[in-house]
Each structure stands twice: as C-alpha cells, then as structure tokens.
C-alpha cells in the first residue's frame, strides 16, 4: 500500500497568522478556568499550613473543628497512604512519589513555612476558615536553613534523616542536605588553564523566584460511592494529575477521570499537584464534591518556585579568543525535597560553546523552602546568568566584541555538545549573526546606558502524544489532543491539521480531551506540544487522507496510487480514467456511510528528534545614578524557531520569556525573615514586571527547519527565558562599569554598587 502523500510545496496555512480558535471565549470572559467550574452540592476545601520553617508535628487535634456545624470532613496525613520511595517520570522532570505525597500533606515533620498539615471541607468558606482556626497542631520547632551554602555545611540542620548524597566517589556514611552531586568532565582542565593567556572567574548568586502565573491553582473533585472519581482542574497535564492522584491516594488509574480546565499560565509550575489529591480525600471523607482554590499567598508559600543558587565559574582562553578551559560549579536550592533543576543546569551551562576541557559540578541541596517546581527551561537561566556574565568579562579582558567571541567558540552542526549528543540542524550561528547585524546592536548608547549580550540554549523534548481527527458530515474536522493549551497551541494544532488536510483553518475545531476521551499524552512542558503533539496531529490527518484515497479508489475503480490528495480534494491521475472529477472532503464526508462509515483517525507516538533551541539577546539599560532605578530601554531577542507555525504566538513566547527573565534579573526574589517565613508572599512585594516597566520587545525569528517535524518546527517556549538574566547583568556592567554578580539588580543593590564605585 502506498503511503505517499503529496506534501504541499507551498504552505497555505502554516506561517500565517489566523485568529486563534479559542479567542472569542477568552476575550469575552466565557472561557472556563480552574476556579470557574462548580459542581452541584460542592463543599469548600481549605488547607491549614505550617507557620514554621522546620518543625516536628507532635500532635494534631481536629476534634473542635469536626464539632463545628457545617464542617463535613477533616483530613491529615493519616488519610493518605504512607508511600515507599519510587521515581516517576512525568515528562518535564522525574518526581519521587513519596516526596510528592509528603509535599501534598506533611507527615511527622513540616519542612517549610506554608507546608500543608491538615485540610477541611465545609459548607462555606467562612465555616471552613473557622474550622482551620480550631485545629490544634502542637509543633516542636527545629533549627531551619534557607540558603544553599549554609544548608551544605556539616553542622546544618538536616531535613531528612535518611538522605545520603548520591553521586560521590565514596558513599557518605552520614545524612546531609546534599541530595546529589552531578559531574561532567571533558579533557584536562588543569593543563588547559595552565596554558591559557587570559583567565576570568567570579562567584554568582541568584534568589528563588516564582513562575508567577496569574491563575492560582484550583480544582473541583468528586468521589462517587462506587469509587469512581471526577477531577476538574487547571494543570499542564490532565494525565499527570490522574497519575499523581492515583499514586498519592492509592487508587486505580481507571477510577479517576480528569478534565482539563483552561489554564491561566503555568510556566512549569503546574506540572505537579498540590490540591487535587487533598480535594479527593476530602470528597471521599465527606461524600460531597469539594472545590479548592489557592490564595496568592498559598501560591507563593507552597508552590513553585525555582531554585536560588550560588555558582562559581572560571574560564580560560587563548589571546585569539579560543576558550580552552572552563570550570563551573553550581549549588542549587531544591526546597524541601530533592530535585532542583541543577542537573539540567549542568547540561545546559556550556551547551552553546565548543570547549575542549571543562569540569562541571552541580549540587542538589534541600532547604527549608517550598519544594521547587519546573520553571521555563528549568535551571538553564540560572547557569546562563553565571556563564554568560563570565563570557562577557572574558570579552572585555580580551578586548573582543562579545558576539565575535561567542561566534569564535560557537557550537555548530557536527559539534559534540558538552552534555553528550552531536548537534545537527541547529541555527545558532545564524541567530548570532542576526543580532550582530541588527540595527539595535549597531545603534549608539546615551549617557548612563549600557548594552548587554547573552546567549541561551534549551534542549526541547518530544515524547508521548495522542491526537485524533474526526471528520464531520460537512467535511469539517475536530482535532482532539491531550495537551492543555497554555499559550495558543490550539491554533497551531488546527493550522497543521488544516494545512495537511487542505481545508481552511476555520473548518478545524481543536479540542482538548479529558483522560477518558483521548489517549495518553505527556504534559504540556519541555516545549514539546507543537513539536510532538503537532506531529501526531499531522500523522492523524495523513491517516485520514489515506483512508479517503482508498475510499475514492474503490468508487472510481482505480488503484489507490492513482488517487492523489491536493488542496482538500481527491484527484484521479489514472490516464485511463480522464473523466473522473475531483471529489472534495465535504463531498466524501457527506457520503461516508456508503464508503465505509465515519471518517476518523487516531495516532499515538513517542516523538523523537526535537530540535534544540538557541537564543541570542541584546538588552539596553538605563540606570538612574541618583536612585539606582533601572529601565530597560531597548531589547531584541533572536531565536532559531525551526519553523514558526503561527508567528504571532512564537513572537509572544519570546516576548513573554524575555519579560519573565527581566523581572528575575531586576526585581524578583523570595525574601525570608530570620524565622524562615516568606516575607513577600504577594504581588505588591514580589515585584513582577508591569506594562510601564518594559519597552516594546523586538523579536527576530530565524528558521532553520527541524527535519524531524513535518513542517520543521522546533520548541520555542522555553529558551527565551535563558539569556535575559545575563543580558541585563551585562548591560548593567556596561552602564555602571562594575560587575554585579548577585541577582536581583534591584535599586538598593545598584545604588550600593554605585556608592562602592565612588568610595
């Protein structure tokens, strides 16, 4: 059987900018997010959280809460199975299910301010809150540790008595807060430093920052008397929610159906569960559906963030700019349980550079802070802040243009990446050239302004996806996938289906199925959806076309090889049958009952060959020497995107990543008091960029197609947050003439640096 398909040589849909299919719902307030859904008879669920950064739970007495009229259930860790340690690969990062369970509800000890210790379900929010105040928890407080280096000290308070550092040559005999050491070595770094002409080195510090999605976590869960459960929630993956709920509660996967709500931002922070298992436990205990919505304070204290870090980078180069040696040491806060993104940080740290000798060491360290969650290119922006700052200093010391230095040491097709594989079809050099040749890079600066350049890398992933296409009797198509649409992916799914089928994009309705309505898909993360799920959509469309050609071949009594699919219709190319008029999809759909029944296809795949993302950013800052206030006055981001399916949403991903990175660089940080309590758990004091903080964010899309994707797409969502931290810091170096190596570069810090310059 022929599988040949006339691939359109001219693209009619891909690369255009149609209005997104879910647009009208989202500009009218009609779209239904996590907190917008209600079930009849639902109760309100609330969580009691630890006020201590580290304490033993001596006892929990909920009798006065249970006695309050209107309280329908109280649960504690006693209502959850005590799980064994087991790793589960959820897509973005592996999780230990025991740690996940202990993070959802503390057992024996609380490990951070905000850690859940009990939950209630009641007939109203007022009753639920009154009930929380009636739960008596007796704590025995313990010494705590927040910052990564103190947590690594031998005399630090130990969070987990059973944790012994993995990855050391000699396994340790005492427990510590160091969960794991990562190490990656190439060549002879000591010898290379000994012969280097120029050496730079510095210590770099970043603080924990939050993903900052505007929609707090929210869900409704209902447990039926027959054990069947329904969960409606906002997450980056309904299948992830199903798996984690089943594991944390000891349920059968088949008993849980999860329906994805619209998601109000995630950036990696919604790749795990906090509320859903608790809501299910409360529903089981009460016999009613339970709705739970986090407050913003809950979101800051108990979800996310990504790691604060302390890093050391040393680079050695020859006088011609060839970087010959690098040592990178990364110490990352993991939060209360192991699993900081330090592994990915180690892999990405030098991924843009072809260096013969290096040592990269990473430390994953638990601290009395919320368990870190994935945040957009997890780990990479932190490592890039250190490495790109060092490369900038190297360029200054060598007297080289910072882009020329990066071009001289750039990875290219055929280079063996620092983390292992050999690069192919990468557009890094083109992206560097785009910034080098940009008007922005050539433009002059004004007084008190500085310009910074930085580059970034992210792997992008593929993975398991399912897509189904159902043709309606009028020839329109429903495209069903299992990936929540976090930034416009419905549009790209519809466009790729329309392009392949040869129909207008308005004739395609993209849908996101619940866990019982579409096959398994890994969550929306790793910049995988347009690549991997898009590939499944295209293959499902191709399967529909093959089915249609076979049906037409029977009708026309020709070989299927003599039926081609062009521009949404079947055409006969059998020279013996010149009289056969083309048949449109609509005509074929109308008579599908006579040609074999409904037209529908599903494809499942495990997509391989995701193309990595490279980004090059240039940032101009202006510093007010009186106040230390910093304004971003111009910003241009170039990125190899493979092929932009919907260019507006690709630009949007780039601009959004830049804005988050600028916030990380200039203002955002978790601040803890001396008792380990978060002091700025709200948007007033955790200062994210607002519209008046930013200029227009210019983008340059470089298209070096990924041959593994039907239209050449590469993941685009994550790499744009990798360069901005260093681009801003390097611009600051230019503006004030001093290297600031500790984020955020907030006005007091800038003012202190300016004062030190005077002194």
């Amino acid at each position: 059987m022929s599988e040949t398909l006339d691939k359109p040589t001219v693209l009619n849909v891909v690369g255009t900018r149609p209005i997104r299919p879910d647009g009208a719902d989202k500009v009218t307030g009609r779209a239904t997010y996590g907190a917008d859904y209600n079930m009849p008879g639902q109760l309100v669920g609330r969580i009691l959280r630890s006020p201590h950064a580290h304490a033993r739970i001596v006892s929990i007495d909920a009798s006065r809460a249970r006695a309050l009229p209107g309280v329908k259930a109280v649960v504690t860790s006693a209502d959850f199975p005590d799980l064994a340690s087991e790793m589960h690969d959820g897509g973005e990062a592996a999780s230990n299910l025991r740690d996940l369970s202990l993070n959802v509800m503390a057992r024996g000890k609380v490990l951070y301010d905000g850690h859940a210790v009990a939950a209630v379900a009641a007939v109203s929010a007022a009753v639920a809150e009154e009930a929380l105040s009636r739960i008596k928890v007796i704590y025995e407080t313990l010494p705590h540790v927040i910052d990564v280096e103190p947590a690594m000290s031998p005399d630090a308070p130990v969070l987990h008595d059973h944790m012994f550092t993995e990855g050391l040559e000699t396994p340790p005999t005492t427990a510590s807060n160091i969960a794991k050491r990562h190490k990656n070595v190439r060549g002879d770094v000591d010898a290379a430093f000994a012969t280097a002409d120029v050496i730079v080195e510095d210590r770099y510090v970043t603080q924990a920052v939050h993903q900052g999605y505007i929609e707090p976590q929210a869900c409704v869960a209902a447990w039926a008397e027959d054990g069947r459960c329904e969960v409606w929630s906002s997450s980056q993956g309904q299948f992830m929610v199903r798996t984690y709920c089943a594991k944390v509660l000891g349920l059968e996967i088949s008993d849980i159906r999860v329906t994805p709500a619209e998601i109000g931002g995630g950036f990696g922070g919604k790749t795990t569960v906090y509320l859903e298992p608790v809501a299910l436990a409360l529903s089981r205990a009460s016999g009613h559906p339970v709705k739970m919505v986090m407050t913003r304070e809950d979101v800051f204290r108990a979800t996310g963030p990504t790691s604060g870090a302390v890093m050391h980078v040393k680079l050695g180069a020859l006088s011609d700019g060839t970087i010959t040696a690098a040592t990178v040491e990364l110490k990352f806060q993991a939060g209360a349980f192991p699993g900081s993104p330090v592994g990915a940080a180690c892999m990405t740290a030098l991924a843009c550079y072809d260096i013969a000798n290096f040592t990269i060491v990473g430390w994953d360290v638990v601290t009395n802070t919320p368990k870190t969650a994935a945040y957009r290119a997890p780990g990479a922006p932190i490592a890039a802040f250190a490495v790109e700052s060092a490369v900038d200093d190297l360029a200054r010391k060598l007297g080289m243009d910072p882009i020329a230095l990066r071009e001289k040491n750039a990875v290219r097709d055929g280079t063996k990446a620092a983390y292992g594989p050999t690069f192919q079809n990468i557009g890094y050099l083109e992206t560097l050239a785009a910034i080098r040749d940009s008007d922005h890079y050539k433009s002059p600066l004004k007084p008190n302004q500085g310009r910074g350049v930085a580059v970034g890398f992210w792997f992008n992933v593929g993975g398991e996806s399912t897509a189904a296409i159902h043709i309606s009797e009028d020839g329109s198509a429903a495209v069903v996938t299992g990936n929540p649409d976090i930034g416009g992916s419905r549009a790209s799914m519809a466009m790729m289906a329309a392009e392949t089928l040869g129909v207008p994009v308005e004739r395609v309705r993209p849908m996101i199925g619940d866990t019982a309505s579409i096959g398994y898909s890994m969550l929306t993360g790793g910049s995988r959806t347009t690549f991997a799920t898009g590939m499944a959509v295209v293959q499902a469309a191709e399967k529909v076309i093959l089915d249609l050609r076979q049906r037409v071949a029977k009708l026309w009594e020709v070989s299927v090889d003599h039926v081609v699919w062009r521009m949404g219709q079947a055409e006969c190319i059998d020279p013996a049958k010149p009289d056969k008029k083309p048949m449109t999809l609509a005509a074929l759909a109308a008579q599908s009952g006579r040609t074999g029944g409904p037209i529908s296809a599903q494809v499942t795949l495990n997509a391989q060959g995701a193309g990595p993302g490279f980004a090059v950013h240039v940032c101009d800052l202006e510093v007010d020497p009186e106040t230390g206030h910093t304004s971003v006055v111009r910003y241009t981001a170039a990125q190899d995107v493979g092929r932009a399916i919907h260019p507006s949403y690709v630009e949007g991903q780039i601009q959004g990543g830049v804005a988050q990175g600028v916030g990380w660089a200039l203002n955002e940080a978790y601040i803890f008091d001396r008792d380990g309590r978060m002091e700025n758990a709200g948007f007033l004091d955790y200062r994210m960029p607002v519209a008046s903080d930013l200029p227009m964010l210019d983008t340059i899309m470089i298209e070096v197609p990924n041959p593994k994707h039907p239209f050449g797409a590469k993941g685009v969502g994550e790499v744009p947050i990798v360069p901005p931290l260093a681009a801003v810091a390097n611009a600051m170096r230019g503006a004030i003439g001093l290297r600031m190596s500790s984020l955020p570069l907030s006005p007091p810090a800038v003012l202190a640096a300016l004062d030190s310059r005077k002194g």
């Binding site: 009218t28 900052g212 619209e262 959004g656």
Partner: protein, 161 residues
C-alpha cells in the same frame, strides 16, 4: 450573620443578590451572579484580573465590598461585546495575538476600555502606565500595547466617520 439584600445594575440589567457583609464584589459577581469573567489572581488589588467598572470608575472588584454596590452601575467583561459583535478592543486583542493563557485578558480589556473612554488618543507611555495595574505574565505586554493603540486608532476613525 444575616445577609444583606443588594439591588444593583450589572451590564445594564437589574440584578439583585444576598451578600454577607464581608463579601467582595468579585465574589458576588462570580458566585452569586454567575459572572466568572472577572478573575481572582491575588485578592489584594495588585494584579487587576478582577477589574470592573463601578459607576464609570475602574476598580478592582476584589477590593470593593458587595454591599457597597447597592444602587450602583457595574460593568464587567461580559457586557463588552454588544449584540453579538466584539468590541474593537476585543477584536484587536485577537488580531494582535495579545493574549496567551487568557486569564488576565478580561481585566486588561476592561482597563483598556476605561483608558480609551477617558483618553481616546493615548501615547504608548500613557497606555503602559494606565495598564500598569494589570499583571500579565505571558506576553511581556508588547502585543497588548499594540492592540490597545490599534483599537484606539480604529475607535477614533469610527468617531470621525
């Protein structure tokens, strides 16, 4: 505590509901009137996702007590499209791809409409400061500002015609 009977006007129509004294306007809209277009992103007036118009003034509905709206006019995102036609701001948000997740969008549209009602010809800087009370974490604001400026130009043209 007994509830208070509130009579108000929402998007031009009479509306009434019972509110406890501490209920916010946001909770009244969402839970009592079924208007879930206004979102709670913070509950402290810092994110603007709950923006509505109260007697012609832009407010964070999470900072207004429901009993305060007795006899007032409330306008929400649900009232912006008229007669099955999107408002030019809504249309321009779609054309410029000025939303990604869409969660902040209702609040931004309400705030942007308030801007253009008060200042039909804003500069980019004015638009940025007017919308500085509305957090968006997805877009970096670039496309939002472009959409607002484009809608402003279209509305001025409509008025001139």
């Amino acid at each position: 505590m007994s509830k208070i009977h509130i009579t108000t006007t929402v998007n031009g129509d009479p509306a009434e509901f019972l509110a406890s004294p501490g209920m916010t306007l946001l909770d009244a809209l969402r839970d009592e009137l079924g208007l879930t277009g206004a979102k709670e992103g913070c509950g402290s007036g810092d994110c603007g996702a709950c923006s509505v118009m109260l007697d012609g003034r832009l407010v964070c509905s999470c900072l207004v007590l429901a009993p305060e709206v007795e006899g007032c006019r409330v306008e929400t995102i649900e009232g912006m499209a008229q007669g099955g036609q999107l408002h030019p701001l809504q249309q321009k948000f779609l054309e410029h791809a000025a939303l990604q997740c869409g969660f902040c969008t209702p609040g931004l549209l309400v705030a942007a409409k308030a801007l253009l009602d008060a200042h039909p010809d804003p500069t980019e800087v004015e638009a940025r400061y007017w919308l500085a009370g509305n957090l968006c974490r997805c877009t970096g604001y670039d496309k939002i500002i472009r959409a607002v400026m484009d809608a402003a130009a279209e509305l001025r043209q409509e008025r001139a015609a």
